[in-house]
């Protein structure tokens, strides 16, 4: 449904154009990094720490070095001279943030997580390198692990000796209209809620593990890094700095990239090692990550303890919010590790009106686990989860329907553009409309009616319905806002539009797609702008020799920043073409109209010149206006004036079996509003995938560590990425509220599904069990976890018949029940097998 009239009917934008990326990917023609033929390449393999925290006593590499095919073996000490700087962290969130220097191989005699790189082997084949790793003998003195965030903060075990503490930083965002406003609001509140939620660690699990190949040109002085990365441009800058290579001699190429979800938004040890070792040996060095390595050596997501307090008046209108977070940094800071909780810091008031009474504080802590970093949504799913779960608690306390409570608090559409308590301006929104549409699609009232008859005393199949309304806050970002957050880079994006002599068009973008279909979408934007067919447009990207400047793809920024830059570059091309057309037609440029790919003199429809003719004129340069450069191309670097603020409402309907704790998702409805949709087919795909990742956090996924700091879910046999049979068919609706901040009216959409999904699912599960006294169910809501929550709530109830000791359980115990006894689920572990 369309709320606001979209821009005038466009030829291509808004159609479900099939993706031009697909044929190569469907036929095996596309080349991922591991597919690249690189003659003469040596292979890297790493010996990694089997301990969460240990001192390295000795390293014996002699046996490995003597093995067939082994070319060299290096310890951290051997490579100390290879690094001009430690591994980069681009987000020093506070002046006094602690950032322990770390290097691609353990360099200070200690390891700080299972998977920390210790020794590098270079060999003539992948198998020879891996065989040699097995022969490396490292003697460790194990030290206590620090797995629990609150215990880690108590510093009983200090991970980085030189810091003297595990505390990384405390970052506060307190906004009060008047001093003491928050405290006063809580004192005066008719209702308050105080809740604690745990955002479990997640493994991003892009289907393509990381892969790298560094190809040096010993006599040319250059080096090319092929990497399965989301950020070729940032990687170029960062590897140049870290290795001390002049930046102009580094080229980074991201070939076909098999998903990222934030996990490939980083500068990794293996990238630096391949580059350093290829320069040392003067031959290409490559590395292919195994899935088990991926689980340990690629960043993890989430990892927060959230304490949220809401104050509300008698009607349930929010009057103040207080949040205390503990952020799990893992063992070291990767590229944007410390900034992830901050990205959510502005979103704990959700889509609701709030006076200037907001008190957010995050303390982050080092642990002996894999570093965390951005994972789909990065801070925003966590924030949305907390506010949306807490809103349901408030609704319960008030005895008000959760949807009704949201309606009372929604920022009204008349208030847009809306200046929030934080000073941030939300661009456009109509939350009530999206919620109404979602309720209609989910038959909200019907489900509520069915609940009354189904969830009776003693019922073991209980129906629940959960609502979640969200903001995405994406399109990173206005550079000055990033500066205010101490982020070390800008948020602009580049585009070049080049009309070739035969009127075919090359678009060069600084975005780096890895599944999002930018080639298709950007060609659609250009097609409408220039009035030509998308088939006549090529989109080039992800190679710093072709697209030298860019800030890559993450944070749902590509369309609202990069796509808008493409549109702006088209405008510049049209402006230039107009000068040529005016010259050729002997008309005043102001009298020319451009439509349908041709310039026409106003009032003289016979006086017309197609873009094709102008393109050729620009090429021959025989008859151009004086002083005009002979080309028809334009470059734009666009720094957005604002974030973009997609929003929507998701509704999930579940049935919970109270005997087994199994959750059956009966229906999932998502109504998302990302402004104008360039290609609805692609938008829907983004939403589908996002929802299932959020749903998977709610029901299935958790990086489980034991007390010694071993990751027990380090393969896809143990870590429950859902299969097709684990997830429901999805019902999508959408509203369309164009963004007023850019000419396309677009907003981002890559993370919306993930942000909306987890709270909708858990709200539904808790709703189903609310009659049993259950107020919260932690994620992932595995059958065992749900069953435990039911029985804990029922412990005070004399009628409770279970009488079973729930007992202390480690996560793995929970995992074994997660499959629900469904042996046909491919990725359940042994506990589910018959």
């Amino acid at each position: 449904m369309t709320v606001t009239e979209a821009p005038p009917a466009a030829a291509v934008i808004g159609t479900r154009l099939l993706r031009r990326e697909d044929p190569a990917l469907l036929t095996g023609e596309a080349r991922f990094t591991a597919d690249l033929p690189i003659p003469g390449a040596l292979h890297l393999a790493l010996a990694r720490s089997p301990y969460a925290h240990a001192r390295i006593i000795s390293i014996d590499t002699s046996a490995a070095a003597a093995m067939p095919g082994v070319v060299a073996v290096y310890t951290g000490a051997d490579l100390a001279d290879s690094w001009a700087a430690p591994m980069p962290c681009a987000w020093p969130v506070t002046e006094d943030m602690k950032n322990p220097a770390h290097y691609p191989l353990a360099a200070n005699g200690k390891v700080a997580y299972v998977g920390d790189g210790v020794v590098a082997v270079v060999a003539t084949s992948e198998t020879a390198a891996r065989d040699a790793v097995e022969a490396i003998d490292v003697e460790y003195e194990p030290l206590p692990a620090a797995i629990d965030l609150e215990e880690a903060l108590a510093d009983s075990t200090v991970i980085h000796d030189e810091l003297g503490t595990n505390k990384c930083y405390t970052w506060a965002l307190k906004v009060e209209g008047e001093d003491g406003a928050v405290d006063r609001a809580f004192k005066a509140a008719a209702h308050t809620v105080s809740e604690r939620y745990v955002q479990q660690r997640l493994l991003p699990m892009a289907m393509e593990p990381r892969a790298i190949a560094a190809v040096p040109q010993p006599f040319g002085g250059d080096i090319t890094l092929y990497s399965a990365t989301q950020i070729p441009h940032i990687l170029k800058v960062m590897t140049a700095i870290t290795l001390g290579i002049p930046e102009h001699q580094v080229r980074v190429v991201a070939p076909a990239v098999g998903g990222g979800f934030g996990s490939k938004l980083n500068v990794y040890a293996e990238e630096l090692l391949c580059m350093a070792l290829s320069r040392k040996h003067n031959v290409p060095v490559r590395w292919n990550e195994t899935r088990s390595e991926n689980a340990q050596a690629t960043v993890h997501g989430r990892g927060q303890i959230q304490n949220i307090e809401l104050a509300a008046d008698e009607q349930g209108k929010l009057t103040a919010i207080r949040i205390r977070l503990i952020g799990d940094m893992g063992a070291y800071l990767q590229l944007v590790t410390p900034g992830v909780p901050l990205l959510g810091g502005f979103l704990y008031a959700g889509v609701y009106e709030l006076p200037a009474a907001y008190d957010f504080e995050c303390t982050s802590v080092f642990t002996t686990m894999t570093p965390t970093d951005a994972y789909r949504g990065a801070g925003r799913p966590e924030a949305t989860y907390a506010i949306e779960r807490a809103m349901d608690s408030l609704a319960t306390d008030l005895g008000v329907d959760p949807l009704e409570l949201r309606r009372r608090n929604f920022i009204p559409k008349e208030s847009y553009p809306y200046t929030a308590w934080s000073g941030l301006v939300y661009d456009s929104g109509d939350h009530d409309l999206a919620a109404t549409e979602a309720a209609r699609l989910a038959d909200y009232d019907g489900v509520r009616a069915r609940q009354k008859t189904q969830n009776v005393e003693g019922a073991t199949k209980r129906l629940g319905i959960g609502v979640s309304s969200y903001f995405e806050m994406c399109g990173l970002a206005p550079s000055r806002v990033l500066a205010s957050l101490n982020y070390s880079a800008g948020g602009w994006e580049t585009a070049t539009v080049r009309v070739l002599p035969t009127c075919k068009v090359q678009v060069v973008t600084g975005t780096a797609p890895h599944g999002q279909g930018h080639e298709t979408s950007w060609s659609m934007i250009v097609a409408d702008k220039l009035g030509i067919s998308p088939d006549d447009i090529d989109v080039l990207h992800s190679d710093t020799a072709i697209a030298p400047m860019g800030l890559d793809t993450y944070g749902s920024r590509s369309l609202p920043v990069g796509g808008v830059a493409v549109a702006m570059a088209c405008d510049k091309v049209i402006d230039k073409a107009k000068q040529i057309a005016a010259h050729q037609l002997e008309a005043n440029a102001d009298d020319l109209e451009f439509a349908g790919g041709a310039f026409t003199v106003q009032g003289s429809p016979d006086k017309s010149l197609p873009l094709a003719a102008i393109a050729f004129e620009a090429f021959t340069a025989h008859n151009l206006p004086d002083g005009l450069e002979p080309n028809l191309e334009a470059q734009v670097t666009y720094d957005p004036p604002n974030f973009s603020w997609p929003f929507g409402t998701h509704i999930c309907v579940v049935e919970v079996d109270t005997d087994t704790g199994a959750v059956d998702v009966l229906q999932y409805v998502a109504v998302d509003d990302c402004g104008v949709q360039i290609n609805p087919l692609i938008v829907e795909g983004q939403v589908h995938g996002g929802i299932v990742q959020g749903l998977a956090q709610a029901l299935f996924e958790e990086a489980v560590y034991d007390h010694d700091g071993n990751l027990k879910t380090s393969t896809l046999a143990e870590y429950l990425v859902p299969a097709a049979s684990d997830v429901p068919s999805l019902t999508l609706g959408h509203t369309e509220t164009p963004s007023p901040t850019n000419q396309l009216g677009v907003k981002g959409v890559g993370e919306a599904g993930t942000i909306g999904a987890a709270p909708a699912v858990i709200n539904a599960v808790v709703d189903a069990l609310s009659g049993l006294g259950v107020r919260d169910v932690p994620m992932p809501a595995s059958p065992f976890t749900v069953w435990t929550a039911i029985h804990k709530a029922g412990e005070s109830r004399p009628s409770d018949t279970a009488g079973t000791e729930v007992g202390d359980h480690e996560g793995v115990t929970a995992r074994t029940t997660t499959g629900g006894g469904d042996e046909s689920t491919s990725n359940t572990d042994e506990g589910a097998a018959s």
Binding site: M207, T290, H514, A724
Partner: protein, 178 residues
Amino acid sequence: MRPVGFVRAMMGAAWGHSTPKGAPNVEISVTVNGSAHTHDVEPRTLLVQYIREQVGLTGTNIGCDTSSCGACTIHIDGESVKSCTVLAVQADGADLTTIEGLAKDGELHPMQQAFMENHGLQCGYCTPGMVMAAISLLDEQPSPSEQEVREGLEGNLCRCTGYHNIVKAILAAASAKA
């Protein structure tokens, strides 16, 4: 340990695989997408490694090390198999079809076409295995229900699509075939 130098690096690189002592290579002959191939392989070489590294067809992807993800699914004598679960030597004499063998004369296979028309892929990494599994699924169940498609795909993981459009693509391919 110090690096042993440039010359050895260059020589070693030219020879490709290492062969541990006591594990002589074995000669195998297979047909891949209609072409005959004969190679010496290490006994421990997985079929997927053989296809990628010795036959040189890299469309078959590796997504895990526990036979969980299905990215490497191919057809062996017409049946879908995760090619990481089979040793190359076990495939001696077999007729293999990989993702590269589906499109004919510049036309996508109907299943590939259905995936494209229904946006059943995003990053494309699971896609070759997913398409091979889907073809096999319809061979066994020509008119599956949505639930049967979902259950039939349990061995193949996708992280991008949420499966929604993959399921839709396979149901569309089934309808088109009927």
